[in-house]
C-alpha cells in the first residue's frame, strides 16, 4: 500500500511547480491600469464614475451604466457619486452634472450611451448634435439613489 519514496519526491516537485504557476500567471498578467469594479474593463478616464459609500475609499466604474448596474445591487448604500465631465475630464458631483442619453456609444463593449457634461449648454448641444435627450429629474441616471439636483 505504501507508495515508494520516489513517488513522494515526484509529488513534492509537482506541488511546488503547481504553487509557482499562480505567481507566474500574476507576473505575466501584471497590469496596474484601473479597472471597472463592475465588469473589469480598463477605465477610460473621460467616462470614469466614482462611488464613495460612507467611509469607503471609493469604487470606480468605466461609465454611468456600469455604476447604475452596480448601484442596483447595492440599493441600501448611501453614497456620494462623482462623474467625469467629458469636456474637461474633471470629476464632479453627479448632482451638479448634466446627463444626456444619445446615439453615441462611448464603449462598444458595454454599449454605454450616457454622456456627462459640466454645463447645461454643452449638454444641450450634444443632445442636438447626437439625437439625444437631456435626462433630468426622474430620468436622471442616479434618481433612485437620491443623487439628483
Amino acid at each position: 500500500m505504501k507508495p515508494p519514496v520516489s513517488w513522494w519526491w515526484a509529488a513534492l516537485v509537482g506541488l511546488v511547480a503547481i504553487g509557482t504557476l499562480p505567481v507566474i500567471g500574476h507576473w505575466v498578467r501584471a497590469d496596474d491600469r484601473p479597472r471597472c469594479h463592475f465588469d473589469g474593463l480598463v477605465i477610460d478616464s473621460a467616462f470614469r464614475v466614482r462611488i464613495e459609500v460612507e467611509s469607503d475609499s471609493g469604487t470606480e466604474f468605466c461609465d454611468v451604466s456600469c455604476a447604475r448596474s452596480w448601484l442596483a445591487g447595492h440599493r441600501s448604500a448611501s453614497s456620494r457619486i462623482l462623474v467625469t465631465d467629458e469636456e474637461s475630464g474633471d470629476l464632479m458631483e453627479s448632482t451638479d452634472a448634466f446627463f444626456v442619453r444619445s446615439s453615441i456609444i462611448t464603449n462598444s463593449i458595454t454599449g454605454n450611451r450616457w454622456h456627462v457634461f459640466g454645463t447645461r449648454d454643452r449638454a444641450l448641444q450634444h443632445a442636438r448634435e447626437s439625437r439625444g435627450r437631456l435626462m433630468s429629474e426622474s430620468d436622471h441616471p442616479f434618481a433612485t439613489h437620491g443623487n439628483v439636483p
Binding site: 500500500m1 505504501k2 507508495p3 513517488w7 509529488a11 509537482g14 506541488l15 503547481i18 504553487g19 504557476l21 499562480p22 505567481v23 507566474i24 500567471g25 500574476h26 498578467r29 479597472r35 471597472c36 469594479h37 463592475f38 465588469d39 473589469g40 451604466s65 447604475r68 448596474s69 452596480w70 442596483a72 445591487g73 463593449i109 458595454t110 454599449g111 454605454n112 450611451r113
Partner: protein
Amino acid sequence: MIVNAYAVLAAFVGLLQLAFGLLVIRFSFDRGGIATKSELEERPYLLLLLSFLLIGANLASWPLLYSLLQSYVPSWPDVMCIYGVTQIGRGSLGSSRHLPWLLVTVQCTKPLLVFLGGSWFVLYLANRATRTAVLMPRLLRGLLPLGVVSVVDSVCVASYLAIGKQEHSLSAGCCTSQLADRSRVLSESLLGAGSHPWLTAILVLLVTGLCLGILTVIRGRVDHRRILPGLIAGALIAMPLGGLFLVEIASPVLLERPHYCPYDLIGEVPESVLGVVLFVLGGFSVGWAGVLGRWGRVEETQSVLPRLIGSLLFLGLFGYLGSMIMFIVEFSLS
C-alpha cells in the same frame, strides 16, 4: 449552425464517440452470439481496444467542448464569455430553445464519461494483474453504461452543433452587454451578497480531512476497507461544495470584481483551471478507488488491490493538495 475549426473537430470527435459507443453497446449485448473458439478468445480483446478508443475520444471531448464554446463568443456582439454562449436560445420560441438544456446536459455527461472511463480502466488494471482474467465479465458489463452515456453525449453535442443559432438573440446574461437600460444582468450570487466565510471554512476542513484520511490509508495505518466509504462520502460532499466555492468565492476574488462567473477564469486566470482539474482529479481518484474496492475484489486480486487502491488514493491526495495550494497562492496574490 456555426461552422469553425472547433465545430468541425467537435463533430468529428462526437462521431467517433457515437460509432465506438454503438459498437461497444452492440458487442456488450452480443456475447451469446460467439460461435468459434477463436472468436471467444479474440472478441473481448477487440472490445477492450474499442473501449480504449472510446475513453480517449470521451476524454478529448471535454476540453474540446469549452474550446468550442469559447470560439463561439465572437459570433454575437453582445456575448462576452462562455456564460453568454450558454444563454443563447433562452426564451426563444424556435428550435434554438433547446440549446441551453443541451449544453447543460453535455456539461454533466462529459465529467460523468471521464469518471466512468476511469472506473473501467482501473478495473482493467486489476484484471490485468490476474492470471485467469477473472474480472473480464465485469469489465464487459461495465462497458454498457459507458457506451450508453457516450451515445447520449455525442447525440446532444451533434444536436447542439446542428441547431441554428445566428437568428436568435440573447434575452439576458451576465456576460452580455445590451446596455440600453441594462438588460445585461450581473450574474447573481447563488447564496446572496456577502463573503460567506463559512463556505471556505467548511471546504478547507473537508478537504483537509480527506487528505488526512487518504494519508492514513496510504501509510498503512488503517485498512482501506474501513475508511474508504468515509472518503467517498467526503469526496461526494466536496464536489458540489467545491463548485459553489468556485462560483461564490474564487471567481469574484480571482477576477477582482463582483462577478460570479467561473467561465471567465478560463480566459482571465487560465492557471486556475488547473486548480479545478486537480480538485476533480482528487474526487475522481477517491471514487475510482471505491469502484476498485467494490467491484475489483476477487480472490486473485487480493494481493494487488491494496497497491492499486493506494496508488489511486495517492493520486487523489496529490489532486486535493495541488488544488488547495494553487487556490491559496492565487488568493494570497489577489
